[in-house]
């Protein structure tokens, strides 16, 4: 019960945060000297009525506070306006967000699956050649600019022809059976995942190693050793559980980092995700689309942090008790 109340509180806390985020993004975009409907006006396929409707919906003839109110109201209703091509922003987002989520969740899963064991191994073998080599490798992984790495892999793909160059699906995707579709998407995902995986793996492995080394220094681990427990039991039953907790807090931040890193990677690989969408929108100064994808990015980030916090409540009893006091 206590947990539920705590979680509920945490969820309520995100509401003011979202409001401030929307205010910030709204004012940044309104600060720009760009006429939000300029592109729309130039597009001959957009009818006069649509234009009129947009002007009214955005309240462009009214003061900026009213504009914000109008925008917020229609945002909550789910009406995000139209892009400069006259498409609905919401359909565009619906198409792109799952792709970005697919990419980032695969990366996070893989990074944890590989990064945690590697971090543990490095900590156990502290200062041995194995640990040194891993440290060198992670230093390299952290220093490669994501877009540069992506370009290198793209060249590799073109030269060898082993991987498709960009996109998420092949041209004959619609004719495939379900199994073929899965294979096709996996094939397209390999390179972008490799780029983002390398980046987040390096950070995660270091963090895990550092945490575990810290925990192994603590008194209760010394006590467990003094008690005569085997080294395996000390590490896996006592130390590891405490070392993983800070990583869960980091999960939210990692998600944020991935969203940002993914934008460039998506751009290089022509991957149809949210990052590339916002980039294209920015380059075309498509205000509705920019605003909506900025909000969606923020919502995803806040949700990521929320999930991380809730996970932490479940895994770390100390936080639960802290909340009662």
């Amino acid at each position: 019960m206590q947990i539920l109340i705590y979680i509920l509180k945490r969820i309520l806390q995100t509401i003011p945060l979202l409001i401030i985020v929307s205010l910030i993004s709204f004012f940044i975009i309104r600060l720009s000297p760009v006429d939000p409907l300029a592109e729309l006006r130039l597009n001959p396929s957009v009818s006069k009525e649509t234009l009129q409707r947009e002007t009214e919906r955005l309240g462009l003839d009214k003061p900026i506070i009213v504009q914000y109110g109008k925008w917020a109201k229609s945002f909550i209703k789910g009406d995000l306006g139209v892009t400069s091509n006259g498409e609905k922003v919401s359909t565009k987002l619906k198409e792109r967000i799952p792709n970005t989520l697919l990419l980032t969740s695969i990366v996070i899963f893989l990074a944890w699956f590989v990064g945690i064991p590697l971090g543990v191994l490095a900590a156990i073998n502290w200062k041995t050649p194995f640990d040194r080599i891993l440290t060198v490798l992670t230093s390299i992984g952290m220093a490669i600019p994501s877009f540069f790495f992506a370009v290198l892999l793209l060249i590799f793909a073109v030269k060898t022809g082993w991987f498709p160059v960009g996109g998420l699906t092949s041209s004959n995707f619609l004719e495939m059976t379900f199994l073929q579709k899965v294979c096709d998407i996996t094939h397209h995902l390999v390179l972008p995942v490799t780029v983002l995986f390398t980046l987040s793996l390096a950070g995660l492995q270091r963090q895990m190693r550092g945490n575990l080394l810290d925990v192994l220094d603590s008194d209760y681990v010394k006590f467990a050793r003094a008690k005569g427990l085997s080294e395996g039991k000390v590490i896996f039953k006592h130390a590891l559980r405490n070392a993983v907790n800070p990583l869960i807090t980091l999960l939210g931040f990692e998600f944020a980092g991935l969203l940002s890193g993914a934008a460039l990677t998506e751009y290089v690989f022509q991957y149809p995700g949210l990052g590339r969408l916002i980039l294209e929108a920015v380059l075309r100064s498509d205000i509705n689309l920019v605003m909506a994808s900025l909000m969606m990015g923020a919502v995803m980030l806040i949700l990521g942090n929320l999930i991380a916090d809730i996970l932490l409540i479940i895994t770390d009893p100390r936080i639960r008790e802290g909340s009662q006091a």
Partner: protein, 355 residues
């Protein structure tokens, strides 16, 4: 304290290598005008995309000779339908050291003509090939590096005072002030930083001078980073303000601003140093990413990021791999900064075991 830190830094093997590498890079960037064979904007359209110049030290008779190079000839191959580059062996161009070449102003002040390496008037010495406009990639890397390698530091100098003061005020005043200020900072952090970065960069009006644009990009980079820094400062201030000497300052009637700026913030010095060295690489990466997309530093100015813009087309890069050099330089610089940052963290916090 700083001297002590530097001494320990020098003792560490990896950190020493990193310091030396960065030293060489910054030295080369400082003397870029002299080291680069050409000026930043020198272009020879007939030399578009020529490969790196080949330097010969043994002449056609098999005898040792002064180093010389041949120009490339650009020819259209009608059979294969592509442009081929062949060496024009009719004329040798000897490489001259400390000779007169393109005129420039050393550090923007002293007019000079001597270059470390040049060749004669009609020869073209492109050590790392040329780009689409026939500009020397090697020279542009040097000039671009000036921007790429300083922008991070400049952004930090804008961001740190803001973050320190913001975090200091929030932490010291506490209560409602703290809550409102921190909610705002959290909201800034909740927007994926790269999204914010490209949006801010895209609303920059066009038609600015390159200096204005550079300064504004510095400001934008600072706007992205201050929030998380302020949050950590606030946490530190919360614990420092309870100490006795702060109470003492309060009791003799020091103003709040004085207490924050003179008594509390100096206590965060070691953290500030670590945070600075650790965050330089991320600003270098941000700038290069931004320029790579064409939203940062604009042509004809060079930066390592915008030089890589041409690498966006993979067909381009497969035939002209020398255009990728700036990417390796970013990698090396970031790696070196990271190594130094890790070592400084180890020195300041003996308990930490990053290495």
């Amino acid at each position: 304290m700083i001297r002590d830190l530097l001494k320990q830094l020098w003792k560490d093997k990896f950190a020493r290598i990193a310091v030396i590498v960065l030293g060489i890079i910054y030295f080369a960037l400082f003397f870029a005008d002299f080291i680069a064979p050409y000026t930043k904007d020198f272009s020879d359209r007939s030399m578009a995309y020529v490969p790196p110049s080949k330097i010969f030290t043994i002449d056609e008779n098999g005898k040792l000779s002064k180093p010389y190079t041949y120009n490339y000839k650009r020819e259209f191959d009608p059979v294969e339908l592509k442009i081929v580059y062949t060496l024009d062996r009719s004329q040798k161009h000897y490489i001259k050291f400390f000779a007169k070449g393109q005129p420039y102003k050393f550090l923007g002040l002293i007019p000079m003509k001597r270059h470390l390496l040049t060749t004669d008037e009609s020869g073209r010495l492109f050590l790392l090939g040329a780009d689409i406009n026939g500009r020397d990639v090697f020279s542009r890397i040097l000039f671009g590096g000036r921007i790429s390698m300083t922008i991070g530091f400049l952004a930090l100098f804008v961001l740190f005072p803001i973050g320190l003061l913001y975090g200091g005020i929030a932490g010291y005043f506490g209560g409602k002030v703290d809550m409102i200020m921190m909610r705002f900072a959290e909201a800034v952090m909740s927007i994926p930083s790269f999204y914010l970065l490209i949006i801010l960069a895209s609303i920059l009006p066009s038609g600015m001078t390159s200096v204005q644009r550079f300064m504004l990009i510095v400001v934008i980079l600072a706007l992205i980073g201050w929030a998380s820094f302020a949050r950590v400062v606030r946490g530190m201030v919360l614990s420092i303000k309870k100490q006795e000497y702060v109470q003492a300052a309060k009791s003799i009637g020091a103003s709040r601003l004085r207490i924050i700026v003179k008594h509390i913030l100096p206590q965060t010095t070691s953290f500030v140093i670590v945070a600075m060295t650790l965050s330089v690489p991320s600003y270098i990466l941000s700038e290069s990413g931004l320029s790579f997309l064409g939203l940062g530093i604009q042509q004809p100015d060079a930066s390592w990021g915008n030089m890589l813009k041409e690498a966006q087309e993979y067909t381009n890069i497969i035939y002209r791999p020398w255009l990728l050099t700036p990417g390796f330089l970013i990698f090396i610089a970031v790696l070196a900064f990271n190594l130094i940052g890790d070592t400084i963290r180890d020195i300041l916090d003996p308990k930490s075991k990053t290495r």
